[in-house]
């Protein structure tokens, strides 16, 4: 993280000098006051006020994420474009290009690994952690839709047969989609059971006993 320390008679003055040197705006930095003291000057006849600040450039999580993702793509020998979409609760990086199957992998395994690494790098040192989601050619969206359809179909069956249904093991993100999809549904309840990585969602006509 780039940062400079500056001294001035007022905080504003010190910050202004720092911004000039860094060549960035006030909205792109974090300001810490290191020293703020009234020093008695020559023979105590006048007071010299000195404020010392450290101004650090705060890098945008989305930009850091996109940059690192592009590096991975280059490393994998994949030519693709990365588009950043900012949502209130997450940052979505859309990857578009030809022949991107290698990025997805079996059951989206590679995509999940890349997403995990990018999230880690982008949030390193960030004060506010942001969820990073990486999508390739709409793969996640389609996958999410198929999970939702599965959830609704199984819920219908549970309601009909009055018997609980145990789904296949899924990763936390996929389970979350199932739970959220059925949250408002009448007559069915969902919970997870088992240990990772074999944890599975149970759709039940009753609330979880025990």
């Amino acid at each position: 993280m780039r940062s400079v320390e500056k001294t001035g008679r007022t905080k504003e003055e010190a910050v202004r000098a720092a911004l000039k040197e860094l060549g960035v705006g006030l909205d792109e930095v974090k300001v810490e006051v290191l020293e703020n003291e009234n020093r008695s000057g020559f023979l105590g006849m006048f007071q010299v006020k000195q404020v010392r600040v450290r101004v650090s450039v705060v890098e945008d999580v989305g930009k850091v994420a996109a940059r690192f993702l592009r590096e991975i793509l280059v490393g994998l020998g994949v030519a693709a474009r990365v588009e950043i979409l900012r949502r209130p609760d997450q940052i979505v990086l859309n990857v578009n290009g030809a022949d991107l199957g290698v990025l997805i992998g079996r059951h989206g395994q590679t995509l999940d690994a890349i997403q995990f690494l990018v999230g880690l790098v982008a949030n390193r040192g960030a004060e506010e952690k942001k969820r990073i989601v990486i999508d390739v050619q709409g793969y996640r969206r389609r996958h999410e839709e198929s999970l939702r359809r599965l959830a609704l179909r199984m819920a219908e069956r549970v309601r009909h047969e009055r018997k609980k249904a145990v789904l296949a093991p899924m990763n936390p993100a996929d389970r979350r989609i199932i739970h959220l999809t059925l949250q408002g549904q009448k007559e069915v309840f969902t919970y997870s059971e088992g240990q990772e990585p074999f944890r599975r969602v149970v759709i039940s006509p009753q609330e979880k006993a025990e």
Binding site: G75, L76, V102, G105, T110, D112, A113, F116, L117, L120
Partner: protein, 73 residues
């Protein structure tokens, strides 16, 4: 794989050695500063496993058969 470099505190200390074996085998040996070992492994090995998965994708593309990613002591 320079992915490792972005994950650690001391990127200058990162070295990756590639050893090509017979039958399309490749070994990537990652060396990091000892203070960064925990970072590169992650909780329950999540980080190193994610690196392995991405390395495998790369191997698939290069037509290599077996790829191993190990941390050098």
């Amino acid at each position: 794989m320079t992915i490792a470099r972005a994950l650690v505190d001391l990127p200058e200390a990162v070295e990756v050695r590639t050893v090509e074996g017979p039958h399309g085998r490749v070994l990537y040996e990652i060396k990091v500063d000892e203070r960064d070992v925990g970072k590169i492994i992650g909780r329950q090995g999540r980080v190193i496993n994610a690196i392995r998965t991405v390395a495998k994708a790369r191997a698939l593309r290069d037509g290599k058969k077996k790829i191993t990613v190990e941390l050098a002591e």
